[in-house]
Each structure stands twice: as C-alpha cells, then as structure tokens.
C-alpha cells in the first residue's frame, strides 16, 4: 500500500504535466469558437439584393446545386480587414474559378455600392443583411467570415476573420481542396 502510494506524486505530476503540455500547444487557439453548422445543412435565409448594385440577391436555395462547392463570404464596407481580403477573394474567383456569394452585413447600401465599384465585384450574388438577422442564422461573431458550402447545401468549412496572409490563404485553399472545389496544386 505504502509502496504504491509513493508513486502517487509522480502520477499526479504526469497528469498535470500532460494537461499543461496540451495547454501550451501553439496550434491550439483558445479563442476559436466551434461552429455548430459544420456538416449541417445551411441555415434558411432569404436576402434582397443590395440597393444600387446589379448583382441579384441571395437565399439558401442559391447555395446548393451549383455543380461545385461554393464560398459564402460575409463582408461589409465598414470592415477594414474585408478590404484586404477582397483581393484574395477576387483572385480565387478569377484565377481558380471559385463561385463566390456574399452577405453584405449591416451595411448601408450606398456605402456597399461605392465599395464594390471601387474595388471590383467578384460576387455572383449578394444578399443585403441590414438587420444582421441572417448573420445570426449563420452564427457569425463578426465580419469577415467565410464558409465553404457543398453541392448539396451542406456547410463544410468555416473561416473566422480575413483570409489574408500566406498561412490563412493556404489553410483556406486546403479546405477548398478538401471540399473538392479546387485541384491540389503541385508544389
């Protein structure tokens, strides 16, 4: 009994040490909010087009049945990181042929129209979410956020924050490859 008890401090140290080691893992992001939408059908929503922009509006049914997985990006003209991300999204559309849909989140239509005419409009459909209600249906915590939606309308992937910088872009491209929207690039 005493002999086994002698190993108790070592056992406790190993348990706590393992826990601390897990906590120190640099790949673990404690701020990451797990999404409930992954592997679930996309939420129901229906949004009118942005007033003053030619692009048609967006609803749930537009996301499915496009023959390929699509990207849904939540953006706003008042969101500074969105501006940086815009170039990345444009390149995904123009260079890689990704189909991109947008939700214009809590934005004044006039501002959104100016923003799009200044930077270009890579979106094939844009829904204007003035109240932010569609944003809640998607469980977003802020803009920008990007989702990858499968052909059948299932949410496959969620990226919180701007897809800017090499690490973020390669992470997002990898998700697109996994979803089957992109061919894997030969290194």
């Amino acid at each position: 009994m005493t002999r086994t008890l002698a190993f108790l401090p070592l056992f406790i140290a190993v348990v706590f040490g393992g826990f601390f080691l897990w906590g120190l893992n640099p790949d673990r992001d404690p701020n990451e909010i797990p999404s409930v939408l992954i592997s679930q059908p996309a939420p129901e929503f229906e949004l009118d087009p942005v007033v003053g922009v030619e692009t048609p509006g967006l609803s749930r049914s537009d996301l499915a049945g496009n023959g390929t997985p699509v990207v849904l990006n939540v953006f706003a003209s008042w969101c500074v990181p969105c501006r940086a991300e815009h170039a990345v999204l444009t390149s995904l559309v123009e260079r890689d042929g990704i189909q991109l849909f947008g939700i214009n989140y809590k934005d004044k239509p006039a501002d959104a129209a100016r923003w799009l005419s200044e930077l270009g409009n890579p979106y094939s459909r844009i829904g204007s979410d003035l109240s932010g209600r569609a944003g809640i249906e998607w469980g977003i915590s802020g803009v920008p956020e990007s989702f990858i939606i499968g052909e059948d309308g299932t949410v496959l992937y969620r990226y919180v924050g701007p897809v800017v910088g090499e690490a973020a872009i390669s992470k997002f491209r990898e998700a697109l490859v996994q979803a089957g929207a992109l061919e894997r690039e030969e290194p």
Binding site: N31, V36, K106, S131, G132, R133, I136, G139, S141, G142
Partner: protein, 157 residues
C-alpha cells in the same frame, strides 16, 4: 471624509450601468425581467467572457433583440436559449450543459473532493487504530537501562 464618500459612491454608479439601451427594452416589466435573465446566461461571441446583457458589441445587441423577440412571440426562457444555442452551439451558454464532452468538467471537482475526503478519513482511521503509546516497549526499556548504566560507569571512573 463625507466628500470622499460621495466621490466613491459617484464612481461606483457607472459600474452598475448595463449595456441594454432604452430602445431595446420591452414595455412589459415581467417580460423584460425574463429577457434580462435569459441574456445573463448567454455569452457574447465577440468578447467571450462577458454575457450579452453587459456587452456593447453589435452582435450582443442583435442577440438581445432576438431574445426579446422570442419572448414576445411566446417562447419560454429555455426555448429562447435553445433557439440561440441551435445557431451558436453550446459555446454561447455561459453555463456549459452536462453532456459527454463536459463530463470531466462537471464531475472532476466532486470526484476530487471525494478522493481527498477518502484519503483524509483513511489517514485518520489508521492513526486512531494505532493508538497512543502509554508505556515503553521492552526494547526501549532495555535501551534506557543500558544508557543509564553507561553514564554511571563513566562517572565512576
């Protein structure tokens, strides 16, 4: 002194101020009280360790309005929570629910308490069983006797 007190009291007043803006509040005080109760259990997804009742973030305001909308529509408190939980996951609840992923979280503290009490009780029992010695053992008596003899012998020489 009284001036200092007044200053301190004036400084504490802003702390009690809530983020809930007047235009969000419901006319019915009973429903508003329920909305406040529900929103105190919901996490602001932007500021993470704050409830939406005290958060100034835009999403928190939207969620407060949504909570009130559901309550006015006739949802119970738990139905309102479930509505938001369906969109934001367990994470949005400040009190984590008991399920397979949170067993360790909920059961570890009572388990540790039980283990600690068990150890304490076992140690006490063992100590009591051994009892307190009232007399020396024969070996100890012999040892003391030898010691006294040796001392005497040293003194004599």
């Amino acid at each position: 002194m009284s001036r200092l007190m007044i200053l301190l009291l004036a400084l504490t007043l802003p702390m009690t101020a809530m983020a809930v803006e007047p235009d969000e509040m419901l006319e019915d005080p009973v429903l508003e009280a329920r909305a406040r109760e529900v929103s105190r259990g919901l996490r602001c997804v932007v500021c993470l360790n704050q409830d939406i009742d005290s958060s100034n973030a835009g999403v928190a305001r939207d969620l407060r309005l949504l909570v009130r909308e559901r309550i006015v529509a006739g949802d119970s408190n738990s139905e309102t929570l479930a509505f938001i939980q369906a969109r934001y996951g367990d994470y949005v609840l400040l009190k984590p629910p008991l399920n397979t992923r949170t067993y360790v979280l909920w059961l570890a503290p009572p388990a540790m308490l039980v283990i600690a009490l068990g150890f304490g009780a076992a140690t006490l029992m063992r100590r009591r069983k051994r009892g307190i010695a009232t007399e020396l053992s024969p070996a100890e008596e012999r040892e003391i006797h030898q010691f006294i003899e040796r001392q005497k012998a040293e003194k004599d020489t």
